[in-house]
């Protein structure tokens, strides 16, 4: 087999390279990145997209070229050239994917580590002390030694996460809503508010079936698993309002299980805290009850319409 090595091939190679490099940066397929880790994930994707575009163009090019160039002439009943192998060529095309995936694997590892995915302390399953066995005979903790890191922990490269104590938020998924509890203030809400540039640590749990807590703009997702607590630690760097999506099939209204994340300035966040803290609420007429004392069903009622939960579903919630 002769590898065509003329000028045209060279030009095609240059063109493929340039197009791939350009498209890898300008595909526009990802939503805004709201944290520095998200930007790193995007860089990884951009690299993969560049390589994929090059391979895509190369192989589709070969197919299209062959389909036009190597057509059988009418009436030609002879066979094509009988080359059956070419060891050097085969070694090359085994080595190229091998090198590519090696690079991708190492790079992915680096990024996953930078995201805090391998953080041995903070992302470990905290075991029975935290895992809620509070509801008798419902949930049981696994992994009592807390050896496993389930989720994404503190980033070794994020100065904020190294320096500041994270804001803890307990996130509970239930059919079909997310409930956020702030242990520091006792606030319980149906949407999440966090200050920018302060690390946030989510303790994610599920009340009924599997759910998955997904923040598309943060490129973060972690399943909420009944009987276990999973973690996500991240620092929002961009103010704004972002969707929170449930990404694990959890029943008929799975598609309606959505909420909002508000990344606020410290002042706005503190104001929100003030307005919503339970102590505050006790003094006002409107909210006579401490949300923490409500059952999920009662608590959810005001949010039901917004979250697309039917009255029937609401009744089913204890």
């Amino acid at each position: 087999m002769t590898i065509p090595s003329n000028i045209l091939t060279l030009l095609a190679g240059v063109a493929i390279t340039l197009v791939s490099l350009w498209y890898g940066q300008n595909h526009g397929l990802l939503p805004v990145a709201a944290s520095s880790e998200a930007t790193q994930v995007d860089n990884l994707f951009n690299l993969m997209m560049t390589i994929a575009t090059a391979l895509f163009l190369l192989i589709q090019g070969v197919l299209i070229f062959s389909a036009f160039k190597f057509r059988r002439q009418a009436g030609d009943l002879t066979d094509g050239p009988a080359f059956e192998d070419n060891i050097p060529l085969e070694i090359v095309w085994t080595a190229i994917p091998a090198v590519i995936v090696f690079i991708l694997a190492v790079y992915s590892f680096e990024i996953y580590n930078a995201m805090g995915g391998l953080d041995p302390v903070n992302s470990r399953d905290p075991g029975p002390t935290v895992t809620a066995i509070a509801e008798p005979n419902t949930l049981v903790a696994f992994n009592p030694d807390g050896e496993l890191a389930l989720g994404i922990g503190v980033s070794p490269e994020d100065p904020a996460q190294q320096a500041l104590a994270p804001l803890e938020v307990n996130v509970q998924g239930l059919q079909y809503a997310w409930i956020f509890t702030y242990p520091d203030t006792g606030i319980v809400t149906g949407d999440m508010h966090i200050p920018a540039n302060r690390p946030v640590e989510l303790n994610i749990s599920a009340a009924d079936v599997l759910h998955a807590f997904w923040l598309p703009e943060f490129r973060l997702k972690q399943d909420a698993i009944p009987g276990r607590v999973t973690k996500l630690v991240f620092t929002a760097t961009r103010l704004g309002e972002y969707p929170i999506v449930c990404a694990e099939l959890c029943g008929a209204y799975h598609g309606a299980m959505k909420s909002q994340l508000y990344v606020q300035t410290l002042e706005d966040y503190q104001q929100w805290q003030q307005e919503n803290s339970p102590e505050q609420a006790e003094n006002t007429e409107e909210i006579a009850l401490n949300p923490a004392e409500l059952s999920p069903g009662q608590f959810l009622a005001p949010y039901a319409a917004e979250a697309g939960i039917s009255a029937k579903t609401l009744e089913a919630i204890p």
Binding site: L44, M49, S66, R72, D85, W93, W214, P226, C250, A256
Partner: protein
């Protein structure tokens, strides 16, 4: 009666020599042990279920043409995608692979029939039984937990239907195990003496690799499903967290089978393509040994990558890294195959008939599925796109763009041999053109949808995603129309 004849009895031998035209149509509805009859039975049955699965897909796409759940109720939506996935996997692709295996392997290795003809017939007849059971679950409330049937949801939603699902998958899995025993034995033990293992057609290699996977992985699924049925029926708590069970163990068991299952679904069609391309390029296959061995490399690696479906689940960081590495390595033997196919057509004398068009279409779209496969293997990116439409796009490029296009390439390639008749070539090309356009229109936009934030398995979605969804729905209608020329 054919059923009672031993395969070596004179009647059976002469029966085997019957041309297609001399066969009675009743043979195809009886417990016949002739591998050709069984092959055709498999093929016709799987096509029947393909139309059902395709109809379900178009219901899904119709619902998704608008953001609101207005066409069907969300419960029904979940039932429909659950059955769509299950039908397409267990009643279309897997039996269709067995169809080619049954028809071709004895002919290719020079055996009179499969090694265990009666077992073979049993294996086939389990398919209609399992299929009927699965579809009849619509009468009792079909399962709603997806083809993955993760507990605890699968323990609470549509319990009777879920039980139907488990039974049916157990039956279909058993059928597939019996089939694989037959393939392995026939390929290894019944070749004519002159045919060494390296003289075998590549299709035999790929069926061997797929059968080994079936044999190793399917029993594990069976075990998991039996435990799940205990939880469902007897109130045990293997996987039910409410009683101390662990739903994550189910996921491990399930994917220990179901990742290999994707290779069970694609390997036979790798084999088909390796037969089809050389013929219509009028050139020998390039890199016979590389293609043969890479099938086994894929089989072996396929057994140690399952947790890549659980990167956002209850898996610790080191485990995610381990499975990322093993998964990425699969790109190497897969790449070898793709390059070898390209080299096979390169410089040939290509005849762009229906079979070859599907063959080229296979490489083209399987390539896309393979490239996105490496992307989702990268943990940091998969965390973002897991359980989104990106994955739906990826899996359809592999299963539809790969397996189904490969299947059609083989279908047109062997149609004259199987039926003794020629098909209508222009209609075949039209079929290809519509399928290929529809496929890309339906599944390409799903990549972007998933990355932008659309999760899968939802009957209602954010209105911002509507334009791309409409495009995708049009693509799926085009695919529906493409079935008309077929």
């Amino acid at each position: 009666m054919t059923a009672t004849e031993s395969p070596t009895s004179p009647a059976a031998v002469s029966g085997r020599d019957l041309g297609q035209s001399q066969r009675k149509w009743q043979d195809y509805f009886s417990f016949n042990t002739d591998h050709k009859v069984i092959g055709i039975q498999y093929l016709v049955t799987s096509f029947f279920f393909f139309f059902i699965g395709g109809a379900l897909a178009n219901v899904i796409r119709t619902e998704l043409a608008t953001p609101d759940p207005d066409f069907i109720q969300p419960e029904l939506y979940n039932q429909i995608f659950t059955l769509h996935g299950t039908v397409m996997i267990f009643l279309w692709i897997i039996p269709a692979g067995a169809a080619f295996g049954n028809y071709l392997i004895p002919l290719m290795v020079g055996a009179e029939d499969m090694a265990f003809p009666r077992l073979n017939a049993v294996a086939f007849w389990m398919i209609p039984v399992g299929g009927t059971l699965l579809l009849s679950s619509f009468l009792v409330g079909a399962p709603q937990a997806g083809w993955t049937s993760y507990p605890p949801l699968s323990l609470t939603a549509s319990q009777t239907g879920q039980m139907f699902w488990i039974l049916s998958v157990l039956i279909l899995g058993t059928s597939s195990i019996l089939g694989s025993i037959n393939f392995i034995t026939t390929i290894l033990k019944m070749r004519i003496p002159e045919m060494g293992i390296h003289d075998m057609p590549l299709f035999c290699w790929s069926m061997l690799a797929a059968s080994v996977l079936i044999l190793l992985a399917t029993p594990v699924l069976a075990a998991g499903l039996i435990l799940l049925s205990f939880d469902l029926l007897l109130g045990t708590n293997f996987f039910n967290p409410a009683g101390g069970g662990d739903p994550i163990i189910y996921q491990h068991i399930f994917w220990f089978y179901s990742h290999p299952a994707v290779y069970i679904m694609i390997l036979p069609f790798f084999g088909v393509i390796s037969e089809v391309l050389p013929v219509h390029s009028r050139k020998p296959i390039f890199g016979y040994r590389a293609i043969a061995y890479s099938s086994f490399a894929i089989s072996f690696l396929g057994l140690i990558v399952w947790a890549h479906h659980m990167f956002t689940s209850g898996t610790p960081g080191w485990l995610r890294m381990f499975f990322m590495a093993t998964t990425m390595i699969i790109a190497v033997p897969t790449g070898v195959k793709v390059f070898s196919w390209c080299a096979t057509i390169w410089g040939g004398k290509i005849e762009l008939n229906s079979s070859m068009l599907f063959g080229l279409g296979f490489i083209s779209s399987f390539l896309i599925g393979g490239l996105t496969g490496v992307m989702v293997a990268a943990v940091p990116f998969d965390i973002h796109v897991h359980d989104t439409y990106f994955v739906v796009a990826h899996l359809h490029y592999v299963l539809f763009g790969g397996s189904v296009l490969g299947l059609f390439a083989g279908f047109y390639h062997w149609f004259p041999k199987i039926t003794g008749r020629m098909f209508n070539e222009p209609l075949g090309r039209l079929h290809f053109a519509l399928t290929f356009i529809g496929l890309n229109l339906a599944f390409m936009p799903m990549h972007e949808l998933g990355m932008m934030g659309m999760n899968r398995r939802i009957a209602l979605y954010d209105p911002q995603f509507q334009p791309l969804n409409v495009l995708s729905t049009i693509g799926s209608y085009i695919m529906a129309v493409s079935m008309v020329p077929l």
